[in-house]
Symmetry: C2
Subunit: 435 residues, 2 copies
C-alpha cells in the first residue's frame, strides 16, 4: 500500500494562514543569505549568556529548596524529577520579583508558570473564549503569537488600530461597541504597552489610565504582555497596566525570555480574577488556567523552573539590576540605529524620498515607512543586492495595510552591525525608491 | 470598583468537564489522607532518580555537540540559551534510540519534540481535525489526556469499547461506519497498545495487524501512545504499531517521562505522513505540527532537551538497557500485586464476593471489578476506614459504565507498600461487599 497522503486543505485552517507562510519565507531567506546583516529576528543577544553558569544556578535553587523551604533530599529530588504542581513551583520567587521590579503585588497563588508566555496566551484565550460569539480585540499591528493562538482555537480577532503612541482608549471603546452591535461579545483586549512588538512604541501614562477605564466601562479584560518592559530608554520604568489595575481588569503575561534566556521557555500568567462557580463558591482564574494547562503540557519542566529559580535566588529577586548590561546593550543599539537612520536620511531630503520612522523609547523594534511596497519580493532584492534583511510589516496588520512598512530589530546584532546594516538599508531604500 | 468576577459557566466548556472534578477530588482526598497507601498515581518511582547526575548529563550533551556535531563554543551557547528549532534539537538522538529500542526506522525530520506527550496530542489533534464533522475514535476506557485535549479543541470524541485484550479491529470498523452513517468524518483512532492506561492490557500481535488493516480500510489514522512499552512482563518486547506500519497509518507519541524522568516534560511525535499542498508540493505532517507548535510553546525548552539528550548519549541511545533497574522494579511490583490479590481473594470464595481483575502483562495498572459502586463516596470510605486509595474507573468511560471498577497503580510505591496496601484493599472490599 502506498504511504498515506493527507491534503493540506483537509487539515485545520490555521495551517493555511498566510502569516505562517510569511514567517516561513523569512526563515528561508535568512538561511539563503547567511552573510546578510539581519534586522529581522527579535531574539536577545547571545553574547549576554554564559552556559557555564547553568550548574551554578541549579545549585542555587537546590540550596534555596533545602535551606529556605526546608525540603529534604528526597523532596528536592521529587521537585526536580517528578511531575510537579500544575501552576508551577517558583511562584513565590516570581511574586517577590514582581514586587521588586514592577511594584506589582500579587497573591503567589494567582501565578501560573507556563512554557513561555506563548502557552500563557493559549491558556488565557482558551479559558475566556467560550463560543463563537466571543471575540478578541487586539492592538494592530499585532504580535503574531496572540493572533496565532486565537487562530488555533478558532477565536475571532478584531484589530484595533494603534495610534502613534500605541493603543488608544477611544478606538478600543468604538471597536467594542461595533462588535456588540454585530451581536458579538467582546471579551478581552490584547496589548503590549511597553516597547510593543512590532511597532516598538510605549503607551504614555495617561493613555494607560484611559485604557483601564475603557476596559472597565466596556466589560473587557485586558491581556497585558510585557516581554520588553526593562528595555525602555526612559530614565524611570513605566508603570505596567497591572500595577495600575485596581479591579482585576488585567491578566498579565510575563516572560523570562529576554530578562533571563529564551531556551528555558519560561513565562507566566498572573490571573487574580475571581471566578464564581455554579455552587456560589469562588476561586481564582489562575486555577481555571491550571486545569487547561493539565491538558496542554501537564506542567512546566522543572529543570527550566530550577535554572530560572536559581537565577532569581542569585539576584535576590531583582532582575532589573541583574539586567543592567542587557539594558545598556539594547539602549545603545536602538539609539545607534535611530541615529544612523537620521544620518542616512537627513531631514532635508527625507520628504522627497518619502522615508520616515517612528521613535520608540527603547525596546527592540523600529518601524520604517518607505515609498515602495515592502513585501517579500523587496525583501529578496534587499538580501540579494544589498545584504540586509528586515521584516515586512503587512502580515502584522489583520485589517490590511502596512504594505509600505518594514520592521527593524536591533536586539540580535552588534552595534557595529547596526551601523553597517543601516548603511546597507539606506542603499537599498535609495535604490528601491529610485533615488 | 470591586474586583472583577467571572462566572465559570461563561468560560470555556472544558472547564466544567466532570472529569476535571474527578481528578480534583482524587488530589484533594490524597492530601487529606497523607498516611494512606495510594494505588492512585501513575507516576514513576522516585527512588530510581538521582538529581546529582543532572550536570553530568548536561556535560555529556555539550561534549556531543562539540565533538560529534562539531559545534563551536558560541554555537553550543546558542543551542542551550537561544530560541531553538521548532521541531527540536535532539531528533537525531531520538531517531537512533527508536531504531535500537523499538526497531522503528524513521526520518529524523519526521520527529517533533514536544513538552511531554501531552503537547504532542494537542498538536496532532489540532492539525488533523478541521471542523465539526471530524470525530476522534478512542479506545474506551480511555486515557484522560487525549479526551482532555480533544475537549479543549471542541473535538467530538467517540468511545470504542475495548475487549479483554484491548482495542479490537471489528469494533473500530463498526464505530467508523456508524460515525460515517451519521454524517461525520472519523479521522483517527487513539490507543495505548502496550500496558494501557487505565486498563493495563496489551494487544496481541494478531490484533495489532488487524487494527492496522481496519485503519487502512476505514481511512483512519492511528494515534499510538506508548509511555509504558518497556514495562511488559513478556520476555520479548511487543512490536509497536509503528514498527508494523507500512503505509504511514500510525502517528506515534513517545514519552521520556517513565524511561528517563517526568520533570523534563519531554516527549515527541513521529509524523511521517505526507501532506500535499495546494500547489501540489509535498511536505511532512511533522512540519505542519511544527507550525502549530510555534503557536503553543514556540519550542521545547533546550534545557530539557540537553539533559535528556545527555542521558541518550550516555546510554548510547539504548534506553531499554538503561532502564533495566526500572523494568525489574515495575515487573516485581505488578507481579506482587497480582499475587497478593490472588492470596486475599482465593478462587474458591471469589465468585461469592463478586471480585475479579484483569491480568495485564506488565505495566503500571490493574483493573479490579467489585460488587459495589466504586465511586467517590466509596473512595472516601476506603481512605478513612482502611487507609488505602485507588482511582474510580467510571470517569475513564466516555460512553458510561465502569461504575463497579477501580484502577490500581503500583508504580509509585514500594513492594512492601504493595503488600500492605493489598491487605488494606482486601479489608475494604470485604467490608464494602458486606462479606
Amino acid at each position: 500500500m502506498p504511504p498515506r497522503e493527507l491534503t493540506l486543505s483537509d487539515l485545520h485552517g490555521s495551517l493555511a494562514d498566510p502569516l505562517l507562510d510569511a514567517m516561513t519565507f523569512l526563515n528561508e531567506i535568512t538561511s539563503r543569505y547567511p552573510d546578510a546583516i539581519s534586522f529581522a529576528p527579535g531574539r536577545p543577544n547571545e553574547e549576554l549568556f554564559s552556559h557555564e553558569r547553568i550548574p551554578e544556578y541549579l545549585d542555587a535553587y537546590i540550596a534555596y529548596l533545602r535551606n529556605v523551604c526546608g525540603l529534604s533530599h528526597a523532596q528536592v529530588r521529587a521537585a526536580l524529577f517528578q511531575y510537579g504542581r500544575t501552576k508551577g513551583q517558583i511562584h513565590d520567587l516570581i511574586a517577590a520579583t514582581l514586587v521588586n521590579d514592577e511594584g506589582i503585588h500579587v497573591d503567589p497563588g494567582a501565578v501560573v508558570i507556563t512554557v513561555g508566555a506563548q502557552e500563557g496566551m493559549l491558556l488565557t484565550l482558551r479559558a475566556l473564549f467560550a463560543g463563537p460569539r466571543d471575540v478578541l480585540l487586539v492592538s494592530s499591528p499585532c504580535y503574531v503569537g496572540i493572533t496565532g493562538a486565537a487562530r488555533l482555537l478558532d477565536i475571532e480577532v478584531v484589530p484595533v488600530e494603534e495610534g502613534v503612541s500605541g493603543p488608544e482608549a477611544e478606538a478600543v471603546r468604538a471597536a467594542a461597541a461595533r462588535a456588540r452591535a454585530a451581536g458579538k461579545r467582546p471579551r478581552a483586549f490584547y496589548a503590549v504597552p511597553d516597547c510593543a512588538n512590532p511597532s516598538g512604541v510605549s503607551m504614555p501614562l495617561a493613555a494607560r489610565h484611559g485604557l483601564l477605564a475603557a476596559a472597565a466601562d466596556e466589560d473587557l479584560l485586558i491581556i497585558e504582555d510585557n516581554p520588553y518592559g526593562f528595555f525602555t530608554t526612559q530614565p524611570e520604568p513605566s508603570a505596567t497596566l497591572k500595577s495600575l489595575d485596581r479591579d482585576a481588569t488585567v491578566i498579565y503575561l510575563g516572560s523570562f525570555a529576554k530578562t533571563c534566556f529564551p531556551g528555558a521557555r519560561l513565562g507566566y500568567v498572573l490571573a487574580d480574577q475571581r471566578v464564581v462557580r455554579a455552587d456560589g463558591s469562588r476561586g481564582l482564574l489562575a486555577d481555571e488556567l491550571a486545569k487547561i494547562k493539565s491538558m496542554t503540557t501537564v506542567n512546566t519542566p522543572s529543570l527550566s523552573q530550577a535554572v530560572i529559580g536559581g537565577m532569581l535566588v542569585t539576584h535576590n529577586c531583582r532582575l532589573r539590576e541583574a539586567n543592567s548590561a542587557a539594558i545598556s546593550f539594547y539602549r545603545a543599539n536602538i539609539t545607534t540605529l535611530l541615529g544612523e537612520l537620521e544620518r542616512h536620511f537627513p531631514p532635508p531630503g527625507r520628504p522627497r524620498l518619502g522615508v520616515r520612522w517612528n521613535t520608540p523609547g527603547g525596546g527592540f523594534f523600529v518601524v520604517v515607512t518607505v515609498p515602495f511596497l515592502a513585501d517579500d519580493k523587496a525583501l529578496e532584492r534587499s538580501a540579494r543586492e544589498h545584504g540586509v534583511l528586515w521584516t515586512p510589516m503587512a502580515p502584522f496588520y489583520l485589517g490590511g495595510g502596512g504594505g509600505h512598512q518594514l520592521r527593524l530589530s536591533c536586539s540580535y546584532i552588534t552595534r557595529a552591525q547596526v551601523v553597517d546594516g543601516a548603511a546597507r538599508l539606506a542603499a537599498f531604500v535609495g535604490a528601491a525608491a529610485g533615488a
